[in-house]
């Protein structure tokens, strides 16, 4: 083979490979898939425990069906992590405003401090971050089962001025439209990345 023919063949091969790569990439939709979210190998159903939303209405797992939900375990007597995370989630939610309503995620704060976080207390706190956010009160006896299903943990330690401090999982969980815990966003949370990952997961589910 002459040098010229070899070069010509190499160029054609490279171009074809390039085009094939682009074609495959276009077919697979959003580039790499989620980068901050860790998808669970086996999505887990959210158990039916006694839950009430901040309006005082019963919150059953059926209310998680038909749309995605971003779920955070926190409490209102929390000066730093919880407001910061809710602020980030509000920013994520705003970035997804272009999506049709049914594709936008619901955002839930599940309180790990049911003694202080009554539905009334949650009503005065959660909507401050975004009017569509929902605060969830779980009966103290039911909280361990719910937390376990998510893989979330919490504990209480006495704290001078305030009575007690609550330590809690910093992750944000994604519940799918079948009401199953499907992914975890570990801290630290970054709004652009979370929104991007959400869109990638959404596209993935549209195709399946």
């Amino acid at each position: 083979m002459s040098r010229t023919s070899f070069l010509a063949a190499a160029v054609v091969l490279a171009a074809t490979a390039g085009l094939a790569g682009a074609w495959f990439a276009a077919r697979s939709g959003d580039a790499a898939g989620p980068t901050q979210a860790r998808m669970l190998d086996s999505p887990r159903a959210v158990p039916a425990v006694a839950m009430t939303d901040h309006r005082g209405e019963a919150f059953t797992p059926e209310r998680l069906h038909g749309h995605y939900s971003l779920v955070f375990f926190g409490f209102t007597h929390c000066p730093d992590v919880c407001p910061t995370t809710l602020q980030t989630l509000a920013a994520v939610r705003q970035r997804l405003d272009d999506l049709p309503p049914v594709e936008r995620p619901a955002v839930l704060l599940i309180s790990v401090d049911p003694r202080r976080d009554t539905p009334e207390q949650l009503a005065g706190y959660v909507p401050h971050f975004h009017p569509d956010f929902t605060g969830i009160h779980v009966e103290e006896a039911a909280l361990p089962e719910l937390a376990r299903a998510f893989g979330a943990a919490y504990d209480y330690t006495p704290s001078g001025d305030d009575g007690y401090a609550v330590a809690h999982t910093a992750a944000v969980f994604l519940v799918d439209p079948q009401g199953r815990i499907a992914a975890v966003f570990t801290a630290p949370h970054e709004e652009a990345g979370m929104a991007r990952d959400y869109r990638a997961i959404l596209s993935g589910s549209r195709r399946s």
């Binding site: 407001p83 920013a91 706190y125 305030d162 999982t169 910093a170």
Partner: protein, 149 residues
């Protein structure tokens, strides 16, 4: 009339250059970029964040913070271990000589408790930083929904 000597002029010049508004009268210690997170009127506490700069030759130890708008202020640090967020009280916060210490979301922060009245959505929050050696630095924090850019 005798003209001022160079030494006298230098002394006058140094006296004329007063401290910047954030300093207070404490040489070497500066507080800046202070902000307090806006919270619902029913909230019993919120967080404050700022940068403390110690330009002096010795370490400075923050031992307390006061505010006319809150009954109690403590310094804490958020620590995430094995995915669990916990607060650790920092009764003594050392700002090493020549260093800046940054209090920011997810890390060191002021816990501002028991507001004397519901916190407004915006406005100033006066803070006094109290140091172990008796120095005090005053700064006005700004209430904001989120961190300044």
């Amino acid at each position: 009339m005798r003209l001022a000597t160079p030494a006298t002029m230098l002394a006058l010049l140094l006296v004329a250059c007063g401290p910047a508004p954030d300093d207070g009268p404490e040489p070497g210690l500066r507080a800046m970029q202070a902000w307090v997170r806006a919270v619902p009127p029913t909230a019993s506490m919120t967080a404050g964040y700022l940068v403390i700069e110690n330009g002096g030759p010795e370490d400075a130890v923050l031992s307390g913070v006061e505010s006319t708008l809150f009954a109690s202020v403590e310094t804490h640090e958020t620590v995430v271990t094995n995915g669990i967020a916990r607060m650790r009280p920092r009764e003594r916060l050392v700002i090493a000589a020549g260093e800046r210490t940054r209090l920011e979301p997810g890390g060191l922060h002021l816990m501002l408790m028991r507001p004397v009245q519901p916190l407004p959505a915006e406005g100033p929050v006066p803070l006094t930083l109290v140091f172990e050696d008796g120095r005090r630095v005053e700064i006005e924090a700004e209430i904001r929904a989120q961190a300044p850019e």
